[in-house]
Symmetry: C2
Subunit: 402 residues, 2 copies
Amino acid sequence: MRGRNPADTVQFPNGFKFSAASCGIKASGRLDLGLVVADPGTTAAAVFTKNRVVAAPVEAGRAALASSHGRLRAVLVNSGNANCATGTHGLRACQHICGELARLLQVPKAQVFPSSTGIIGVRLPSEKILARLPELKDGTEALGIAAFAQSIITTDTRPKLASTCFRVGKAEVRVSGVAKGSGMIHPQLATMLVYLFSDVSGTPSQLKQILCRVCDETFNCISVDGDTSTNDTVLLMASGQSGAKLEHGRTRSRFEQSLFDVCRSLSEQIVGDGEGVQHVIHILVEHARSREEGLRIARAIAKSALVKTAWAGADPNWGRILAAIGASGVRIEPGKISILIGDQLVCRRGVRCNFNEAKAHRALAQPHCRVQVGLGRGSGSAEFLTSDLTAAYVRINADYAT
Amino acid sequence: MRGRNPADTVQFPNGFKFSAASCGIKASGRLDLGLVVADPGTTAAAVFTKNRVVAAPVEAGRAALASSHGRLRAVLVNSGNANCATGTHGLRACQHICGELARLLQVPKAQVFPSSTGIIGVRLPSEKILARLPELKDGTEALGIAAFAQSIITTDTRPKLASTCFRVGKAEVRVSGVAKGSGMIHPQLATMLVYLFSDVSGTPSQLKQILCRVCDETFNCISVDGDTSTNDTVLLMASGQSGAKLEHGRTRSRFEQSLFDVCRSLSEQIVGDGEGVQHVIHILVEHARSREEGLRIARAIAKSALVKTAWAGADPNWGRILAAIGASGVRIEPGKISILIGDQLVCRRGVRCNFNEAKAHRALAQPHCRVQVGLGRGSGSAEFLTSDLTAAYVRINADYAT
């Protein structure tokens, strides 16, 4: 993946206002309802979970984008309840809330996009949400993004934001993002939600193409516990107010790079804030036949309970990594495999090297460590971000909470 | 799967002798070398790990069975060292040891079958093994199976044995098995090894067919941590001394049932002895399009870290099970899914039922619990044995041990 970190000091894209409220879904009384209001003319594209079990807001959001032809005026997010496995009641509740918000904002109902995250299988308390909509609407402001970022989190220990900008001709284009997610997390709380904002100008199909490519290299290359949520959503909105248009090749490529930087930063923030995570591991697979093959190997390593528990102990146990590679389904040749942990070559041609165990151990004991695998099969490569599997993760998720 | 438990009091099949020794691979001084000597005329068949990274003894064992055309006279197992990722040195060491044992026993070298289990990537101390071969050979006895079962274990807390028998005409046919394995286990110790013995008479290809079918319904339907070892081996040997022949349909079907009973019992013993396991979960998937589809769903549930940590807390969290089913890759219809935990119907048509949470919690708090899933797609079904994922599992596997 490409490097450059987005600066956090840049200005936020024009054309969006935010607000947040506590409506009482979270027993703690914390912010649990967030609103984005977008100026007229805003275009949008989204990608959703591939889980066959999808929450009501995912169904409703997909339908809204289709019937509005990629135009959005508002995004409403609640945390604390996923509105998933709630049957027709859940879908009707979601549609009713969107309708009420559209009426208040005087925008078409199909241009309101809903999201939910939280407990699965519990009815959404729609009356609590409805009661707060007027307050939420009146509270919108251009700089309210910090409160919005707070309102969408569940077991995250901190809100997640990233911003960057670029100049093209006389125009300054801004790209910002907000995310929540820390694995598939707390008892019955799930989900990664990501909202991306820009003042670039583009059609929904231009946005969709770029969003898919960027997600493929960022949010689709991270894993904490290997579980896939029922509510995952990444939404990109473009207000067009910078005047720079995606139809120009140079704007398009710089925008894609900027969006990549923002999404890469949010991805790292999500893994780093994963439940019980002590170590973020950057897996780099090289000399694969293709990027897809490299990703299969990286995912196999990132999903192995034995590898992830070794990392929890900062144990440079390369035998488990080798065994996970061998079980990946890729027809690797063991005699061509090399493995590096930090800067220590621990395995060459499938056999142990004389390496400095203390150094490899120290590398794994850092908050971030790189694990590099060479397959000796071709020129494809893939990067993947994952974490260790700690006793804290088990404790958090084993609490009897139903 | 079929029920009936094998009795532990039955006689052991004729035609096999066992012994065990401590050769010093295990620092603890425990038994770490086991020998089976089979009478002339013994036929054999084996299935091996599907991992692309295979240990030297797996390569050597596969070659031995091929060149001896399925005839075996001896099995030599060491524990404490997997002889995996040890390059050509490892393979030569394994072959040399088999050659020395063949010379001592005065049997063809190709009829000696080797196995290893233990740490990956460390050279096999072959001189320690060679030094004990004469003692091991002189110590063989028909009732030495208990010591043999002890000698092959690594982090198992107990040896694993099962036996049964059946009569056909005047002949009594005996079927027994010995296994080791408790997940993919201790730091760098891996592997499930299973040795099955019978005095039935059959060709290697008859044995292979039956062994594959039985493994498919037993050892291929269990999972502790989802990791696949580099050394897994299931070996079936038949001395023929009962006089009953597999060419007779009735003998064949009764033998297959008996072998299934023994393997089913060993499977349950392996999962029940899994590292850190508190609860063994029997997953039953029904109304799938096919058994294969049911197995995909069962494996997806059995591999979900979130589901397995919920079970560790005896938490009847059906939302996580539903989400794991949705992420399995099978095109399930969420609105047709039902889930039972113990005797409590917790989810019907994809939506929460009014169930007794205390009863569901108590069911999951037992050492064994059944979780049933209905897909509403067809008449296929599958059973699968798995376990919870506990903080103890993480602690055992996170100890810095390289």
